[in-house]
Symmetry: C2
Subunit: 150 residues, 2 copies
DNA sequence: CTAAAACCTAGAGTGCGCGCTAGGTCAAGG
DNA sequence: CCTTGACCTAGCGCGCACTCTAGGTTTTAG
């Protein structure tokens, strides 16, 4: 009946998640699943839709820069059953902050890059040529560590 | 007079840019500077403020995900003198698009993560416990490749 | 029943962006 | 002069997140 999304072999999970079968086996070796993936009589992995859903979330976390080690921590918290929800929440909140900070940094970089683009567009348009590669409209203040304080 | 920001040894450039001396030598080996860095009689590198400015821009490009190889292309274009400004512009524009795309992706991930955070906050507040780790309020549509089409 | 396709394990290899070590040389203060 | 610390080259090593290979087994379509 509902065997369309249940009892999935690794190839279907690969399709469903966009991950390679290598990556899926790697994830298992690294303990990133929420359970032991059961095997068929012949030793082949049999996934369920819930595993796919978890992988999809993992992909979001990875895409937003969470390292494998942190995903593993999160998976371990979930595997160790109820009772540690505050820890899980803290982990997610910290990552949320990291992502927001990354976005802010990228926005700042984007500003610098766009400034350069505009300069080059002007130059290409009317054939000027002067210090084109200069880093931005500023030359004397040597402070560039954390560009966007808030 | 202006020897405060001119004739800089590698240590001062390291301070000024936040890069390690290893990274600065690596950059030179990889041909990422806009010129040959001159040496003192004893073979030590002597940088100018313009080199620091370029490095600061490089750091912005790196921080926004531009690989070393692309920075090298850009540096080569600049080194080969005027005449290829449209190429430089194209390179910068492409990177600008990449950065914008990355920001959009991160925003999408942030949305998913924040949803999870809210769910956990609710749960932690009133002691519920049901499918907490589920990827998002959706279970049946298996499409998650390029999350933010535009 | 057979052949092809999918799957298995163990382990080695890859690309990036540096980091670090070894074994020295050079420059500035006392 | 001598010490100290910054600097030099050459090149190996590392951490991450896979990716690929080799050699074999299982499943499935015809």
């Amino acid at each position: 009946m509902s065997e369309d999304t249940e009892n999935l072999p690794i190839g279907r999970v690969s399709e469903a998640t966009g991950m390679s079968v290598h990556a899926l086996r790697f994830f298992e070796r690294e303990g990133l699943f929420l359970r032991e993936i059961p095997r068929s009589g012949g030793g082949q992995r049999i996934y369920q839709q819930a595993d796919v859903d978890w992988l999809v979330l993992c992909n979001r976390l990875r895409a937003s820069g969470m390292p494998i080690a942190t995903i593993r921590k999160f998976a371990e918290l979930i595997r160790s059953g109820p009772g540690n929800e505050p820890d899980r929440l803290a982990l997610l909140q910290e990552h949320e902050q990291n992502v927001q900070a990354k976005i802010d940094e990228l926005q700042a970089c984007l500003g610098v890059i766009h400034t350069k683009v505009v300069i080059y567009e002007q130059h290409v348009q009317d054939g000027t040529a002067a210090g084109l590669w200069a880093p931005a409209p500023q030359q004397t203040s040597p402070q560039c560590q954390t560009p966007v304080p808030r």
